[in-house]
Amino acid sequence: MNPAYRRHHPKWYRARMPIFWWFRKAAYFRFIARELTSVFVAYSSVLLLVQLRAVAAGPEALARFTAWLHLRPVVALHVVVLLALLFHTVTWLHLAPRAIVIRLGRRRVPDVAVLLGHYGAWLAASGLVVWLLRL
């Protein structure tokens, strides 16, 4: 609120925003959860980097890294990481049609088509990784 108003209208009531405003509504909480997936994205990048170092150091180092991956608390953590990453992907792909407006000739491509295109890209990217790692 414009602070200048207070000077001219001292009697107008202004509600204060609580610090934990994101508990006020399910939608706000979902929003904060979505934003916090970024922490798991950063964690994944760093872990990827650690694994790349292990790969570069040779099979023994990679084996040590893999053994660490099998520890129970680490497995639990990575299940949470995977769920958060999936939440990031789904929310991100669903927001894409809001920002991207594609026109084919005079017609606007419907949002559903843009969304399906993004899901297709996700499928293709996942398939590519699986194929490259020969799983």
Partner: protein, 247 residues
Amino acid sequence: MPQTVTIEIRRYRPEEEAEPTWQRYEVPFWREWMVLDALNYIKDHVDGTLSFRWSCRMGVCGSCGMMVNGNPALTCATYLETLVPGPVQVEPLRGFPVIRDLVCDLTDFITKLQRVQPWIVRETEGTPAQGEYRQTPDELAAYRPYAMCINCLLCYAACPIYELEPGFLGPAVIALAQRYNLDSRDQGREARMDVLSEHDGIWACTLVGECSTVCPKHVDPAGAIQRYKLDAAVAWVKALVLPRSGR
């Protein structure tokens, strides 16, 4: 079906109290009634001191927006029936200073709206003799969804960023700027971009998305802001790669 329903109203009488208080009213329950009908019943038959704004009663004027059970809603378009058994809580719109009871001051919105020049801007105005600026149905369709805005400000009440950052232009202002930007007759895009690309313009938005959820006219301000960010970013890259090409 209940015979009566309890309405709890957030009242604020600045000459009597420093903080708003809840007041309970019992009103008859009719299936056909909107929340606004209950408020009018209270005003007419129970307590004439209650203050609130309303006008058209048909979801067009945009003056009866209030928080109903914590969600921004047009009280003229919210059936009591969907809220029974009560109590139904009615509060003034969030994010705006309360003048009295359910009446807010909306000056901040009006001031910000004027900054984005929500009208058709032309470099040189034609004369009436030259005729109207013509437009095809496709050109109309490009901006029409954004033209549906009735300035009811439910989107502001739904937006936590507006409440947190007083300078933020807010959903409806940006959607209305986009309405004119996308209009084939308009030439004011550059001037609006200067206002919109400030930090308090599009970049303050973190896409909570509630503005679009509560909009009674399906305007999708959140989408308008995202499209605008993408446009601004593309323009920024172009200016970086081709600094000579102007904008």
